[in-house]
Each structure stands twice: as structure tokens, then as C-alpha cells.
């Protein structure tokens, strides 16, 4: 589904990604781990097309389509969803109105008519349950005055509503207590299917107890330096990131 080859990207002329390769197939969950500053969030932002991030080399294909060629909104319409690490507040814009607009823009891109109000509302109800998202929050202004946990749950609620092909969760676990983490992870697990894929960016192994990945990749200094299964995450947890830094630096490959 997603194919990243030799991806180089910089922010304000600072090279962050230095030749990243990744293959993600439908139905898979990939965890990206790594120390602070290794380029994890950059990867999410580059895939979603944030303007400040400049791709200097490499290619990204989503089902064979050149993603880097598309505007952020078209990438979203093609099925790329980024669950933000720090969701912004937009005063006065109701959560529901925003979601309806987004959903219908995606539908229009696919040549579908706007969703019937009744169908939309029943989907809202169903997905709210999935992430235990308070109906009151859905009617409030977008993220305005939400707690950190509520904002993260709102991200997963939107994910559930929009049903993207590829979801990138950018440190969705940060700032969540254990109960909220369980709810968010439970929501993601119910959304997993053979048709979609997830890239779970996280600093800690903890989240992966709840969202069990098929593959774990360690990002360090702008490249994936280790790939494995969920055992790799446990090993990392045990030995710490210094272990990776030391072995990789000793190999002299970066």
C-alpha cells in the first residue's frame, strides 16, 4: 500500500530524514520507535504534506500513486490520515460541522454525493461509542477547551469517521493516562482491517502492549536502523535507546 524509498527531508534547511525506506502492506500495523529528535514526527508530517517540510530526495507511493505530488488535502482524500501529536483548537467551528465538511469533501473527491444527514448521524453515534467520545464534545467547538486526553480521543474519533486507508498515529499515547490509553488503543484495534494500515509512531513500548504491531522499526538519525517484530520493542524497552545509538554508531553506518 505504502512504499517509501530513500526519503530525504529537511526542515528549515536542516536535514532530518536521511534515506528512509519503508514498505507497508494493507492489513499491517507498523510501529516506528526511536529516541527524541530521530525524525519520527517529521516522517508523519512529510507523509501528510506539511508545508514547512521539504522533501529533497526519494519517493513515496500510495497504491502506486506519487504522494509527494499531491496537496495535503488531496493526500487526505486519497486516504492518508494523520492523528496529530498536538491537535489544534479552532474556536467557533463545531466538531460535527467540521467532520461533516471533511467527510463530504473526501466523498466528493471520490465522486460520491454528500452523505445523507441520517446516515451521517448514525455513523457519528456508532463511532462515538467506539472511542467512548462524549456526545457533548462532538457538538462543542473543535478541540476548544478539551483536555489532552479528549483531544487525542477526538483524533481517533475522526479517524473512525473518515475511515482512511493509511492512518499515522503521531505519539498518540503522549499525555494519556492508562485508562485513556486503553480506550484509544481499543478504538484503533476495532478499526484495524485487511483494507487499511497503521503507522504507529511512539517513544514508549507501553502503547504497543495495547496496539500489537506486526513490525517494529527503530528510527535513528533519520534512517531506519533496525526492523523486527514486537519483540524488538521489548528489547528496546529493556536496553534503552542508548543501546541502539551505541551499536549503530559502532557499525558506522550512519
Amino acid at each position: 500500500m505504502l512504499s517509501i524509498r530513500n526519503l530525504h527531508a529537511s526542515v528549515e534547511d536542516k536535514q532530518i530524514l536521511k534515506g528512509l525506506d519503508l514498505e507497508v502492506k494493507a492489513g499491517e500495523v507498523h510501529a516506528i520507535m526511536g529516541p527524541n529528535g530521530s525524525g519520527k514526527s517529521t516522517l508523519g508530517n512529510v507523509l501528510a504534506g506539511r508545508e514547512a517540510y521539504e522533501v529533497t530526495e526519494g519517493e513515496v507511493l500510495l497504491d502506486g500513486k506519487d504522494l509527494l505530488d499531491l496537496s495535503p488535502e488531496d493526500r487526505a482524500r486519497e486516504g492518508v490520515f494523520l492523528a496529530f501529536q498536538y491537535p489544534v483548537e479552532i474556536p467557533g467551528v463545531s466538531n460535527i460541522n467540521f467532520l461533516k465538511t471533511a467527510l463530504n469533501e473526501v466523498r466528493a473527491y471520490k465522486g460520491l454525493p454528500p452523505m445523507e444527514a441520517k446516515e451521517f448521524l448514525s455513523r457519528v453515534k456508532e463511532k462515538q461509542k467506539l472511542v467512548k467520545f462524549d456526545a457533548k464534545l462532538a457538538n462543542r467547538s473543535l478541540n476548544e477547551g478539551f483536555s489532552g486526553g479528549e483531544k487525542k480521543r477526538n483524533e481517533i474519533f475522526q479517524l473512525a469517521m473518515l475511515e482512511p486507508k493509511l492512518a499515522i498515529l503521531d505519539e498518540t499515547d503522549s499525555g494519556l493516562d492508562i485508562d485513556a490509553l486503553r480506550i484509544v488503543a481499543g478504538g484503533v484495534n476495532q478499526l484495524r482491517s485487511n483494507d487499511n494500515a497503521f503507522i504507529v509512531i511512539t517513544h514508549y513500548q507501553r502503547l504497543l502492549d495495547y496496539i500489537v504491531p506486526d513490525f517494529v522499526h527503530v528510527l535513528y538519525n533519520g534512517r531506519i536502523v533496525r526492523s523486527g517484530t514486537k519483540e524488538l520493542a521489548l528489547e528496546l524497552e529493556e536496553k534503552g535507546y542508548d543501546w541502539i545509538k551505541e551499536t549503530v554508531d559502532a557499525e558506522g553506518t550512519v
Partner: protein
């Protein structure tokens, strides 16, 4: 700003003004120039009584002695008062009694503007309309229905003929002739406008609305609106306006006076969309208007809501004189400027009675190279025991070449008064835009959503149908202004 934003900004500049067409119709236009003769001519055309002519002439004498103010936050354009025609009316049949007698050209003009003048075509009759074309009122709908409840809704000219005692009593009682130079000018040469009287205890059964259209070249529009809500009465009044695209500037200097007696309430809403001029600032309307309400009786309330998106220059301060005890004044405003538009607008809340309250919510939005100023006065008189004012004044900037300015004035002569002032300035954030586009929303639509969210508190004050129109207008006015 990125190149992509620049491109979008360019597109915005090319965005056409959709009401810019002209109506080709035979007109009766007074020769250019301002003198006693001009005033006499207008008064004679309208078949006015002697007292009103004298009143006009007095105003003209004031006008001629007054000087242009210099405190406003824009350079006052040179207006040659001798180069304007002060009266322009379609050559109509003498008296309009039914739709058949209204010139079809005029009907189609208002139809094009989305203002139905045919009562049959208005769904359920929720809004009564007075349509003003240049200097005259063309048609007032639903008059008969309103009359059943004693509500008078007619053109100002008709009110002078049919209800002279009301006009004489209230004309100039809130905005004196000498209030400012444009109020003096209007008092001398005003042509038409709307008149509303709601009798004691009557809740006006429908929204009343006036639609102003400037069509003729080289003319000014000087309408006069007078609304009186008698004891315990309620009325909601809407005003909309457009003008053709023309290269030269046109002057619009109106006066609106509202009077609320004991326990009465007047809600006045404006959606102003006069031609703003082109992207280089050529043409456009000078919108220099004096609007003021008087809460004359105890427990009365006057509420102004304005959505200002048009005009080359908008210069007005709809205010409320809170004379009655426990009276309430409100001002809700969204002023949007783009390209080279200028706005210096706000309100005046004059607290005179005891326990009077006022609330000001102003939302400025500036894009392009425009400048948007909020100027507000809150004045507490010595007798205004326990008065309260709350002011919230926000500015939103789009792009980095525009300006937002705030000039709040507070004068308090009573120690028991409580005043609060809050102000914010923000920019549409790249992070907000990215958040919305990442969910698949078009960047222009995203700006529209953010701006409408920002203005929501004000838009919520508008009657339903108008709120929808105003939302669309804000979104359209901002098309391409991503930055």
C-alpha cells in the same frame, strides 16, 4: 508567505463583485451641485411641508460651516460636494399601488439581487421589504398585513405625508443635524428611506427589512431611516445594500435613528455589501453613515448587529444612548476588509440612566493590504449609578500586509460603574489550516470555516436567513485569502 499562498492571494484579488451590474432605466436626475436650490428642489419633488423644508435649509447652513474631521484612521478622500447629484429617481408612474405598476426593469433588478418584491413569491411572508433604488423607495411589501396590527412600515417620503406628527416629533431627536458633517449633509438633502412605527404592546409579526441599491452614476445616496418602538413594542429590522461596479467613488451618507420607549426592544441588523472597489482601490462606495439609537424609556433595549464586508471606506459607529433606567444597549460587529479597503468602525455607548448595561462584541478581519480599525466610546454619565459595560474586541489578520487597530475610549463620571475590556489579535495559523486540510478540506473552505467560527458570536445574533447569507458572504469575500 509561500508561493502557493501568493497565488491564492492573486486569485482573491480577481474575485468579482457579483452585484456589480447596472440597471438601464430612465431616470429623473437632479443637476450636480449643492445649494439652497438643490435642497428646495428635493423638498419640492417630495411635496414636503414647509417645516421640513426649513429644517433641511437649517441643516444645509450648518453643513456649510462645518469642517471635515481629521481624527479618523484613514486619509479622508477629497469629496467634491458640488460634483454630486443629490437626487436620482426612476421616472415612475405617479403612485404605485400594485406590482403591475412597478417598472419591470426594477423588479428584475431586485430579483437579481435576491430580493423578492412580489408578496406571492415570498415563502410564508416572514420578511416585509422596503426596496430603495437610488433616491426613492420602489416598493414596500406586506404593508396591509402589518397595518392590521397597527404597524406602520413605509417609505420615509410617505411617512412625511401620512404621519407628519410622528416624523416631526422624532426626526433629528437622536442624531441632531449638527452631530457631524455627514449627518448635517444628510439632513439637508436626504431623499428617501424607511419609516417604522410599532404601536404600544405590539410585537411586530415579521422581520422588517430595507434593501438599498445605488444604481445611478455620479449620485450620492442619502437615505434616512426612522424607527420608533412605542411602549412594550418589539421589532427586528434588517438592512442590506449593494451597488454597481464603477470606477469613480460614490458617497453613501445615511442617517438612522432608533427610538425605544419604555419596555420596548429594537433589534437592528445590517449586512453591508456595497461595492468595495477593485483590487487597486479604484472605485467603491464611501460608506459614511451615522446610526444611533435612544433607549428613551426604562427597561428598553436596542441591539445593533452589523456584518460589514463591502465599501471602499466604512466609517460608522452605531451607538446607543441609554437614557432610561435599566436600559440595555448591544453592539455586535464583524468587519471584514481586503484588498485596499479601509474600515474605521465601532460604537458609542452613552450611559445616562441608572443600572444601564451595554455589551460590545467586535470582530475585525483584515486581509490583503487593508486596514481595519475598531473605535469605541463607552461614556458613563454622573447619574448612571451601577452601570455596566463589557467590551470584547478581537482582530484576525490574514496575511502579513494588512493592519488591525484598536482605539477604545472610556469616560466614566460615576464611581459605581463597572467596565470590562478584553482585546485579542490573532493570525490564522498555519497549524489550524494544516489541521483542516489534512482532513481533506479545501484550503479556501478551511479559511471560511475558521473565519465563520471566529465571527460566530456575532453571526448568531442575526435572524436565521440573514445569518446563512452572512456566512456565505464572509466565505466568498475571503476566497483565496489563505495566508
Amino acid at each position: 508567505m509561500s508561493t502557493k499562498d501568493d497565488e491564492l492571494l492573486k486569485e482573491l484579488a480577481l474575485e468579482e463583485y457579483k452585484y456589480g451590474f447596472t440597471t438601464d432605466i430612465e431616470m429623473d436626475i437632479a443637476p450636480k451641485g449643492l445649494s439652497e436650490d438643490t435642497v428646495r428642489l428635493i423638498s419640492a419633488k417630495k411635496n414636503e411641508p414647509e417645516w421640513l423644508l426649513e429644517w433641511r435649509l437649517k441643516a444645509l447652513r450648518h453643513f456649510l460651516q462645518m469642517e471635515m474631521p481629521a481624527w479618523q484612521n484613514f486619509e479622508h478622500p477629497d469629496v467634491d460636494f458640488q460634483d454630486i447629484s443629490y437626487y436620482a429617481a426612476p421616472k415612475a408612474k405617479p403612485k404605485l399601488n400594485s406590482m403591475d405598476e412597478v417598472d419591470p426593469e426594477l423588479l428584475s433588478t431586485f430579483e437579481k439581487l435576491g430580493i423578492p418584491l412580489d408578496e406571492q413569491k415570498v415563502l410564508a411572508g416572514v420578511v416585509a421589504v422596503d426596496a430603495v433604488f437610488d433616491s426613492v423607495s420602489v416598493k414596500t411589501t406586506f404593508r396591509e398585513k402589518l397595518k392590521e396590527q397597527g404597524v406602520i412600515f413605509c417609505s420615509f417620503g410617505e411617512a412625511v405625508q401620512e404621519h407628519p406628527e410622528l416624523v416631526k416629533q422624532y426626526l433629528g431627536s437622536v442624531v441632531p443635524q449638527t452631530d457631524n458633517i455627514y449627518a448635517a449633509l444628510n439632513s439637508a438633502v436626504f431623499s428617501d428611506g424607511s419609516f417604522v412605527y410599532i404601536p404600544k404592546g405590539v410585537r411586530c409579526p415579521m422581520e422588517l427589512s430595507t434593501y438599498f441599491r445605488i444604481n445611478a452614476e455620479n449620485t450620492g445616496q442619502f437615505e434616512r431611516t426612522l424607527i420608533i418602538a412605542d411602549e412594550g413594542a418589539y421589532v427586528s429590522y434588517l438592512e442590506g445594500c449593494t451597488a454597481p461596479m464603477r470606477d469613480e467613488n460614490q458617497l453613501h451618507a445615511a442617517v438612522v435613528e432608533l427610538i425605544a420607549l419604555k419596555d420596548a426592544e429594537i433589534k437592528y441588523s445590517t449586512v453591508q455589501n456595497w461595492y468595495p472597489g477593485d483590487k487597486d482601490g479604484k472605485g467603491g462606495i464611501y460608506n459614511f453613515v451615522t446610526k444611533r439609537g435612544m433607549c428613551k424609556g426604562d427597561n428598553s433595549k436596542i441591539s445593533w448587529t452589523q456584518v460589514e464586508t463591502g465599501s471602499a471606506i466604512t466609517w460608522k459607529y452605531p451607538g446607543v444612548i441609554l437614557k432610561g433606567d435599566h436600559s440595555v444597549g448591544e453592539f455586535y460587529s464583524v468587519a471584514l476588509t481586503r484588498n485596499r479597503q479601509l474600515a474605521d468602525t465601532g460604537t458609542k455607548m452613552i450611559h445616562l440612566g441608572k443600572n444601564t448595561r451595554s455589551k460590545i462584541v467586535s470582530k475585525g478581519i483584515s486581509a490583503g493590504v487593508s486596514h481595519n480599525s475598531y473605535r469605541g466610546l463607552v461614556k458613563i454619565g454622573p447619574g448612571a449609578e451601577n452601570s455596566r459595560n463589557f467590551t470584547q474586541c478581537d482582530s484576525l489578520l490574514i496575511g502579513d500586509k494588512c493592519g488591525a487597530h484598536t482605539f477604545p475610549y472610556i469616560e466614566s463620571r460615576n464611581k459605581t460603574a463597572k467596565l470590562e475590556h478584553e482585546a485579542t489579535t490573532s493570525k490564522i495559523g498555519e497549524d489550524q489550516l494544516f489541521y483542516l486540510t489534512q482532513r481533506g478540506i479545501d484550503p479556501e473552505k478551511a479559511v471560511g470555516l475558521i473565519v465563520n467560527g471566529y465571527a460566530k458570536e456575532v453571526l448568531n445574533q442575526l435572524p436565521m436567513e440573514f445569518a446563512v447569507e452572512a456566512q456565505k458572504l464572509l466565505a466568498i469575500s475571503l476566497e483565496g485569502s489563505v495566508g
